[in-house]
C-alpha cells in the first residue's frame, strides 16, 4: 500500500473519520469478528451480511504461483497480471475502470509480472525470458514501468533480480542475486542498486514493501532454515522476531505510521500479525489456520486471507482488534472472496474471488457511499 496523494478527494483526516464511523457502525451492528477456533468450519449462522462494499470485477485473474500480490495505489489503480496466449503472463494496470495489458517487457523478454504500484502509476515487477512465468532456468530481471515504457534494472551482481514494491518517489525494493549466488534484498533509486544486507547470522534477505519515509520491510534469514520479518530504516536492518512459539515470520507491507503486517508461525500454525512500536500482535484467523496479512493502509486497516476450515480460505479485513470475513461485507451476488491483497486510504480493497465453478477474478471493493 502506498500513500494517498489524490487531490480530488477529501483530506485524509476527514476520510479517515468517515471510514472510522462506517467501521464502527459495522462492528456495532453485527458481531462479525471471530478469532481462531479449530472447530469452526463454517460461518456462524448468526453472522449476517451487512454490505459495506460494492464489488467491481476487474477481470479474470490467471492463476500464478509464487509470492504474487495485486497492489493498489491511493487512487484505486491496481497492478496485476493478465494472460497473453496459452500460458504467458503480462503485467497489467487497472485504472479508470479499464484493464491495460502492459506487454511482455522489453526486447528479449516474453513474460512480465507486476508486484507493486505507486501513486504516480509507476509499476514494479519482473520480466523473464521464458513464456512460463515460473521457470527456474529463465533469466529474470526487475523492471519499472513508467509512462508506457519498461525499464529493466540491474542486479546486485548475480544472475536474477525481482522487484516487489515501489515507493512514492519511485524507489524500488525487491530481491536480487549477489555475486556469490546468495539472494539479498535491495533498493533502487533509479540510478543505483543498494544491497540491504542481511541479519548478522544469516545470508538471505528479501524486501517486499517501502513506505513514504523510505522504511523497507521484508524478511531475512537467521540461519540456514529460518527467516524472520525485518525492517530497514536508514539502511539499518532490524529483526522483528516472531509471534510467541514461532520460528519463521515474514513482513509483507508497511504503512506510513510504521505499522507492519505479515505472517508468523505460532504453535497453532501460521497467523497474520500486526507489528507496531516494537510489538508483534497475533491478529488471529477466520476460524482455522493459516492466515496471512498482505496489506495495511494508514487507517491501520489490515487485509489478507485466512482459512475458515481445512479446504476453504476467505479474504479478511482486520481493524481495531477484530477480524472480519469480507464476504459478510459485500452483496450476496455470488462472489466468494478468497484473498485480499491490498487496501488504500480510501478503504478500497483489491481481492481475488470467484463465483461457483468460475475462474478466479481480480475484484475491487469500493466502500459504499454513506449518507451524511
Amino acid at each position: 500500500m502506498t500513500n494517498d496523494a489524490y487531490s480530488e478527494r477529501p483530506p485524509l483526516k476527514l476520510r479517515m473519520l468517515v471510514l472510522c464511523v462506517a467501521w464502527t457502525l459495522v462492528f456495532a451492528g453485527c458481531s462479525v469478528g471471530y478469532q481462531s477456533d479449530k472447530a469452526s468450519a463454517v460461518l456462524p449462522a448468526a453472522l449476517q451480511r451487512t454490505p459495506q462494499f460494492n464489488v467491481i470485477d476487474i477481470g479474470p485473474l490467471p492463476m500464478l504461483a509464487d509470492d504474487v500480490a495485486i497492489r493498489l495505489n491511493g487512487s484505486g489503480a491496481a497492478a496485476l497480471w493478465t494472460k497473453s496466449g496459452v500460458i504467458t503472463m503480462h503485467a497489467a494496470l487497472w485504472a479508470d475502470h479499464r484493464l491495460k495489458d502492459l506487454g511482455g517487457g522489453p526486447r528479449g523478454f516474453t513474460t512480465s509480472v507486476a508486484h507493486g504500484i505507486n501513486d504516480r502509476g509507476e509499476i514494479a515487477g519482473w520480466v523473464t525470458t521464458s513464456q512460463n512465468a515460473v521457470d527456474s532456468r529463465a533469466t529474470v530481471r526487475a523492471f519499472v514501468w513508467s509512462k508506457g515504457r519498461f525499464k529493466v534494472l540491474a542486479t546486485l551482481g548475480g544472475a536474477s533480480c525481482r522487484a516487489l514494491g515501489i515507493g512514492r518517489d519511485g524507489t524500488v525494493v525487491g530481491v536480487s542475486a549477489v555475486k556469490n549466488g546468495l539472494q539479498h534484498g535491495f533498493t533502487c533509486d533509479g540510478k543505483s542498486m543498494t544491497d540491504l544486507g542481511t541479519l548478522p547470522s544469516g545470508e538471505y534477505s528479501i524486501a517486499f514493501a517501502i513506505n513514504d519515509a523510505g522504511h523497507v520491510v521484508g524478511a531475512a534469514s537467521i540461519d540456514a532454515s529460518t527467516k524472520h520479518a525485518t525492517e530497514w530504516t536508514a539502511g539499518k536492518i532490524a529483526d522483528l522476531g516472531t509471534l510467541p512459539g514461532g520460528f519463521n515470520s515474514s513482513a509483507r507491507a508497511i504503512n506510513d505510521h510504521d505499522k507492519i503486517v505479515g505472517f508468523s508461525e505460532t504453535p497453532d500454525g501460521y497467523h497474520a500479525f500486526l507489528w507496531d512500536k516494537g510489538k508483534m500482535t497475533d491478529i488471529g484467523t477466520l476460524g482455522a489456520d493459516p492466515s496471512e496479512a498482505s496489506g495495511i493502509n494508514d487507517l491501520d486497516e489490515v487485509v489478507g486471507g485466512s482459512s475458515i476450515n481445512s479446504t476453504q480460505r476467505h479474504a479478511f479485513m482486520w481493524r481495531d482488534g477484530k477480524m472480519t470475513d469480507l464476504n459478510l461485507l459485500i452483496p450476496d451476488d455470488g462472489w466468494k472472496l478468497i484473498n485480499a491483497y491490498d487496501v488504500n486510504n480510501k478503504g478500497e480493497i483489491v481481492c481475488m474471488g470467484r463465483r461457483p465453478n468460475q475462474p478466479d477474478h481480480a475484484l475491487l471493493l469500493e466502500p459504499l457511499q454513506t449518507t451524511p
Binding site: M63, D67, V134, D135, S250, P290, N357
Partner: protein, 526 residues
Amino acid sequence: MQRALSVVSLLVVSSLPALAQVSVWTQRYDNLRTGANMNETVLTTANVNSLTFGKLFSMPVDGFVFAQPLLMPNVAVLGATKHDVLYVATAHDSVYGFDADTGARLLYASLGTFVPSTVIGTSNIRDAVGIIGSPVIDQSTNTLYVVTKTYEKDEQIFRVHALDITSLKERAYSPKVVTASVRGMGVENNGYGTVMFEAAQENQRPALTLVDGVVYIAFASHDDSNPYHGWVLAYNKTNLSQIAAFNDSPNSSEGGIWMSGQGLVVDAANNVYLMTGNTTPDSDYYPSDLGESFVKLTLSGGTLAAADYFRPNNYDYLNSIDGDLGSGGPVGIPGTPYVVGGGKQGIFYLVDTTNMGKLNLQADRCRQEFQADHGLFGSPAFWNNATTPMLFSWGRGAALTGYAYSYSRGLFNTVPALVSAQETLSNWDSSASVSVSSNGSKSGSGIVWATMPLGEPGDNTVPGRLYAFNATSLKELFDSDQVKSRDDYGNYAKFVAPVVANGKVYVSTDSNAVCAYGLFPRQSKL
C-alpha cells in the same frame, strides 16, 4: 554413480507377449506411478468415440470408492473357473471381486465396521471412513494387501490385511492391528520421548506400496485436524510383522503424507519417495522433521530413515496459505534418477534423487522448477512414448496440458507442447485425475483419460465426467456427457483416475458403484 529409476515394476506389463492380458497390481500401474498403461491393444483414437464406445455396465458396491480398483487376469476364483477379476475396495470396509468383462460379482469380503465420517468430524471424506488407500497385489503369492479403519466400541482401529485374491479370505497371518511409535518429543509423545501412532487422528490416504517383500503404508490427517503426524510403516509381506516405522515430524507435528491418494515411488535400489504437507514451527529446528518436502526413505537393518530431501525455499509461504506441497505425489521419470511432482501451488519440481537439494533459502537446488499447473491434487501421468515423452497434468481452473520431456537434456520444456480446449473448474480442489493408455508407441493408440469433478469436491459430493483425448493432440475423443443418458457415471470419486486395461476403462465413483466403459459389441447385420 547415478542410479536410474527403473521400470522393473512395469515389466509386468511391458514384457508380456502381445495380446496377453494386462494386470493392474498397484495404483497408477507401476511403482514409478507413471499412470500409463502402454500395453493397451484394443482402445485406439479411432474407436474411442461416442458411436462405438461408452458405458457397458456398472458394478454396485456399498460405499464410496476412494481406492483405485486393481485388476488381475486369469484368477482361479474359489479354485474353480478363471476370470479376469477387478478388485474394488470401499470406504465401507468391503472388498469386492468382479468379473472384469461382465461385471458379475464373484467375490466379497466385509472387513469390519467403518467409521462414520461424523464420528471423525471429517468433511473431506463424506459418509464413511473405511478403506481409503488403494490396495496392492503381490502377484507372486496372489495376495492383496489392504488397510481398513474400523469403529469398535467407540475406538478407531487400523488393520492391515492380507487377502487371498482367489477367495478374498484372510491369509493365516492376517490381519494385524496397526500400531507404531518412534523416538521424539513432538505432539502425541508419551512424556518419555516416544511419539505414539494415534489411529483416531490418522488417515490412511496414500496407496499401499509393495517392493522387495515390504508393504509400505503411509498416513496423514483428517482435515488437518491436530494433533497428527505423517507416518510410513513398513510391514513384512509374508507375515505382516512390522519392520520399521518412520514419522516425518517426530519432534513437532503435521507433515501429513496424503498425496491425494497416490502411492510412494520406488527406485531401483528400493528406496521410496514421497511428498509431505504443511509443517509446524517446531519442525524448523529439527532436521529430522520434514514437512513440505520431497523425502527419500531408505529401509536398512530394520530402520526406515530419511536419506535425503528437497524442500522449496518458500515453504514458510506455503505453510501460511495451506499450500501443501504434498497434495500431489511424485512421478518417477523412467530410466532417469529424477522424480517430478507438485502440489497446491502448481509448481512442478524436477528432483534428482541422487542429490535432492535439501532446503536452501537462497535458491532451490532442484534440477528444474516451473509453473505447470494451477493447484494439483493427485499426480500427473508420464507417457514414455518413443517420439515425445510427455507429462500430462490437469490442475484446477486449467486446461489439460502436456509438457514434453527431453531425455537428452534431462529437462522438461516449460512451454506446453499440448493444451486441451476443455478446462477444469476453478474451485479449490477441482483438478482432474489423469491416466494414459497406448499400445507402446504405436501411432493412433495414445489416449489420455481423465475424470473431472463438476463442482467443488472438497467438502461435497459432486457429479463427475469421464474424458478421453488423443494423446498426441489433446483433442477430445469422448466424454460421458455426449450421450449422458447412457454414459453418465454419477458422482466423482476424489482423485481416482480412470483405470484402463484390456480394452476397458474402469471409473470409480461416489455413487456406490464402479462403472466399466468399452467398445460396444458389433451390431450383427440384418
